[in-house]
Symmetry: C2
Subunit: 404 residues, 2 copies
DNA sequence: ATATGTTTGTTTTGCAACCAAACAAAATAG
DNA sequence: CTATTTTGTTTGGTTGCAAAACAAACATAT
């Protein structure tokens, strides 16, 4: 691509990104944000409008910031310009989300399997049905750009699954099967669910300026994703941010991965239940454990107290190495953190130097659509970053795979 | 800066960077590497030559790669275009290095203090003398661009020292003192010594393409630096990569920082000596300990064996989170790793998933000029990256010049 | 010696994107 | 109604890069 054209594409991408984060802007606003002249901004907007990506919208002039001067013409992303599908394969259910060009969730369907741990063929077939039904409701079938699928496992570079313990899948050529079942619909990639969750979070409008953060998805395992300097940390082979596998000690309450002392052997759901069992009590699910905890069960409180210490030490390692502004914690196990109140932050502080500011600890809602939304959001982001601010993302942005 | 000018500056920086890593190139070589036409490359080279940054050099046509066609005119960086000074303040000695524009070490002086732990005033005065003497030997005084100083401690954003335990300094306004003592010579910044060491390593020509690596400097403490996706990992407040402080356990052999279980409490020089002392033996220095080890002392071997396990676990945490291609280990304590032979790598592997490739472990020489060279190299790199390959700079690079 | 082929480096022409400045339009304040 | 402010558009100018043609330098074959 010739030089000037590359610059133009980049500025168009920056304009789209600005519109995505602010929602509504005038041409003059765009000029200010991108530090271009109004004339250039106008030219860029004209291109985007002619392609249908952006549209003028009848202004709501009632509550303007600016009281004087000619009011700007409001611009926004054309929501119907494109749609992105994202799915999340769980052991018990299958979820499908549809995002529009503005990043809004337009549809969401969940299918609960008759019996858990379905085969990949069953998943492929069922997902194809769900996709067809979801697309039928959209205003423009041709605007659907494709499907990404989040998986609780490790995905290799070819898109085959290397390992998905919660599903009992090993070396399943899932993408190939999916592509066959989907017909015309392009299946872009399989993504680790923790990664997908992270993408959903980091594209939140309020986090758009966050340059350094850590995202944790805690359920049967602990998966994660690291945002560093505005980019996802991938590592040489795309296997970075295996947060659940980092050896924070030498033992642990269980042994999920074969790595003694791995973080998830201390703080994941199975670890919590195993620890509780070691104290002579039984809980069949995290929900049951939390109920016991809330009723003041002493053993459960002991488990929470130890969990807080171990979790804080893991967070301290992350903070010491990465100095993130924020750590976002999702998954069912986030409920544990919610019950530690100030203790967790206190324990974290105890492990840090005075000079190190502790990150903001944020617990997300547990509605659980994170990974599916994230899978779709990955496609969305890919379009926006196509020629975008260099360094913020090649199409290969999310090659990493981490088990959760 | 107008758009085309910004692009030009960037291409000039890319050309300089290419020349730095390859040493000698023709205009056609530059055109190929930068993916520009020969005419554009010629134009860029002409600018650089007129500024004196690059020079043509009488070709040595005896052993050309290319046997046919017109031979190119060899180009190289003009070594005397600029000089960069770098110093390293230690408890026992003070070191000064001079790098030229081509990155070659042109001079090196070490001063040993009469008594250890000098005051900041003493260091400032002595360093000023050394700088004056070193500059006198250079071909062009005006080409000296400034001085950076590496410090074994934490530096805040204003450039004052927050803490330097090995020197017994606390909240010393060192940069201000230095600037006063240096007169005309600009003192650009104070840098943590481990960071400086890392910069010296990552600018090595053979590592120029490495995108993900970890650098460890192990002496009285453990400092580090993380290269991720080709950029130094800084974190929100610039305090990332405090590798020595990450809590890998709950105890440790000593307590250097007040953080129980910090990595350096297990594997730094004081930790090794403390552990040895706990086994009822004495060693006054690491050298003495290594001598005992080499003579087959059983307690020393026990210490090494435990050290290997602890160190491996720390490396496993780094590998799990960052997936680096290489971990470079410097400082005197690197000698310990040298004596573990295969055990260290084996222990590291035990902590990793099968899928995770262990990084190359590299032990650098222990001549100890790393931090001083790195401090100077930081200045060198600053010039080269001034408008450099986008991503190392700011994204608002391509707009109008609002600075005027 | 001469011709041929290959690669380098330069020159010329054209283009795309941006900026600066001037201008027209749409609102508010007095 | 006029002055002021801000928006959006238009025009002219600048800049760096690409494409293509050309000149130069060397190796090799005849």
């Amino acid at each position: 691509m010739s030089m000037p054209v590359a610059v133009r594409k980049m500025n168009e991408a920056r304009a789209l990104e600005a519109l995505f984060s602010k929602g509504i802007m005038s041409r003059a606003d765009i000029a200010r944000v991108l530090e271009l002249t109004r004339s250039t901004a106008s030219s860029i907007v004209a291109s985007l409008i002619s392609e249908g990506q952006v549209q003028e919208v009848s202004a709501d002039n009632s509550d303007r910031e600016q009281k004087t001067g000619r009011p700007g013409i409001s611009l926004r992303l054309n929501p119907d310009y494109a749609f992105y599908l994202g799915a999340d394969v769980g052991a018990k259910d299958l979820r499908l989300c549809v995002l529009d060009f503005a990043g809004t969730l337009r549809a969401e369907v969940t299918h609960r399997f008759d019996k858990p741990n379905p085969s990949s063929e069953v998943v492929s077939a069922r997902l194809a049905e769900m996709v067809e039904k979801a697309c039928a409701d959209l205003p423009d079938q041709a605007a659907v750009k494709g499907l990404n699928v989040a998986i609780p496992g490790i995905v290799d570079l070819t898109g085959d699954i290397l390992r998905a313990p919660p599903l009992n899948w090993r070396k399943v050529p899932f993408r190939e099967q999916l592509a066959k079942a989907m017909g015309e619909m392009p299946v872009h990639k399989l993504i680790n669910d923790a990664n997908a969750f992270a993408v959903a979070q980091l594209r939140r409008p309020d986090l758009i300026d966050t340059q350094d953060a850590v995202f944790l998805l805690m359920d049967d395992g602990v998966g994660g994703c690291i945002l560093s300097g505005g980019r996802l940390l991938e590592g040489t082979t795309g296997l970075a941010a295996e947060i659940g596998h980092m050896p924070i000690g030498t033992k642990g309450h269980c042994n999920l991965t074969g790595i003694h002392g791995a973080f998830e052997n201390y703080v994941s759901r199975p670890a919590i239940l195993a620890h509780y069992a070691n104290l002579g009590r039984q809980a069949t699910s995290l929900t049951a454990f939390l109920a016991a905890l809330d009723q003041g069960d002493a053993a459960a409180q002991k488990v929470l107290s130890v969990w807080t210490q171990d979790f804080a030490r893991g967070l301290a390692i992350l903070t010491t190495l990465l100095n993130p502004a924020r750590i976002v914690i999702g998954g069912r196990v986030a409920e544990m953190a919610r019950r530690t109140e100030g203790d967790l932050l206190g324990a974290l502080r105890d492990h840090l130097l005075e000079e190190t500011p502790p990150p903001v600890l944020e617990l997300t809602g547990t509605s659980g659509e994170g990974p599916a939304v994230g899978a779709a959001m990955t496609l969305h982001h890919q379009h926006f970053a196509q020629f975008g601010p260099l360094g913020s993302g090649r199409p290969e942005l999310l090659g990493a795979d981490h088990s959760a």
